[in-house]
Symmetry: C2
Subunit: 266 residues, 2 copies
């Protein structure tokens, strides 16, 4: 998968993340993208918005449901561009370990929104042991705490209540804003801080979530399967369904969203 | 219940909130406090820390489990004092409507932490209709949005992952810091902004949660009852269990926490 519009450090990060997936999980994944070609690449008629989605399914024997990489590029009336780059990785109900989520939203050269999380598969209140295993004992919060010490970083509050609810308590949900500062720029903050944290979190996810075998009972599998079904459908509805018709027109938006929904609910 | 150490606007707010409870829910509550007198008021031997808890149980016919008001006053080595003022209101499993939570933590004359929320009784991912009913359709987020416009307000991240997980996506979890500003002070921000929002939220809770009858099936009651049991026990464990031994000594801390736990699990 290529990222023609991303900035150099985001492109480098994505290449490294996808290489890690390929090296460590490649043998558990289909070799080619499962989506139709007109869903893998598409744009609007005036060529102001383009996007790409790349989905690799897990093999039936693996715990991986699928890995979805994607980007959206959209020219802004101001002359700049909005670039969204994302990587999400979903597990099957053979395990209850968290999913992986990364989203980088850059709407100018001086500001970036970062969402980076291992999203829980269970209600953390009813399952305090799950909170302890994946979020407390692992000290996952240290990554968020480190980024919070940077003066350019502030918490970001998603407008979607669903997105706020689906994220874990250690989710990194931040705005990086370098404003008129001449001493730091977004590229440096990605290189010096964000990249390493994203790679650490993906490696932790690969080792401790995707490859680690948990003993899940059948009744629990049904619960996790139903919760995941809601997460997958609701995430594309909130994340893509709200912007795609505006960016690409209703016809293309329907084609892409329906292809994803069909895949998710098969 | 009296608040001898709270600042004037916090005292005024608490009196107004407790009056609203008494006027609108008084006929559904026991008239006197259910706790032993040495749990209603207690302090450490050196008199540097004092606290008070006031718990009124709901009558068996009502949907109210109990209303718990409290404060902690603790002299700081710096010469100042830490004052925590709280009001929480729990419902029974006759309804699945949210609980009410207010906590004001003031550690200096220029800074305040506010936690104000209707805490969900269900997993919001598995129950999107619950998210819609109580948080989206009600536009509860407008209160948080309003406070966020004030320059003195920043998001507060609780050190406890459990507290982060138990709160709703519209929870107001903020630090108010007036620093060296001469033009605004904490008292004004409480009077002009926080008080009205706290009263609005409590009134909404009284009308739409405590008094409104929902049709809950028996299986769902068991689920809600179990989830609530975890919430009540975990909240005192995290909120009081971590600080009470240090503030009041192990003996008094055990007495108070055991009295609450006994009440919660009876």
């Amino acid at each position: 998968m290529e990222f023609p519009y991303a900035s150099a450090p985001i492109k480098k990060l994505m290449v490294e993340l996808l290489s890690a997936v390929d090296e460590q999980l490649g043998s558990s994944l289909q070799q080619t993208c499962t989506l139709p070609s007109d869903v893998q690449h598409f744009g609007n008629s005036s060529d102001t918005a383009r996007a790409s989605l790349h989905l690799r399914s897990g093999l039936p024997s693996s715990q991986i449901d699928f890995i979805l990489g994607g980007w959206i590029h959209c020219k802004l009336p101001s002359g700049g561009a909005l670039n969204i780059t994302s990587l999400s990785a979903y597990l099957t109900s053979l395990t209850d370990a968290p999913h992986f989520l990364l989203e980088l939203i850059q709407s100018s050269s001086t500001s970036l929104v970062l969402i980076l999380d291992l999203t829980p598969r269970k209600d953390l209140i009813l399952h305090p042991d799950y909170l302890k295993t994946y979020y407390e004992d692992t000290q996952l919060d240290r990554h968020r705490q480190h980024l919070q010490t940077l003066p350019e970083v502030r918490p970001y509050i998603s407008p979607s209540l669903y997105i706020r609810a689906v994220l874990s308590p250690t989710a990194i949900v931040i705005t990086v804003d370098t404003g008129a500062s001449e001493s730091t720029n977004i590229e440096e903050i990605i290189q010096d801080h964000i990249s390493q944290i994203a790679k650490d979190l993906l490696n932790f996810w690969i080792e401790s979530c995707a490859r680690f075998v948990r003993d899940i009972e059948a009744s629990e599998r049904a619960y996790i399967g139903e919760r995941d079904r809601i997460i997958k459908n609701k995430t594309i509805e909130v994340d893509l369904g709200s912007s795609f018709p505006r960016l690409f027109g209703q016809e293309i938006a329907d084609r892409v969203l329906n292809a994803l929904k069909e895949y998710y609910n098969k």
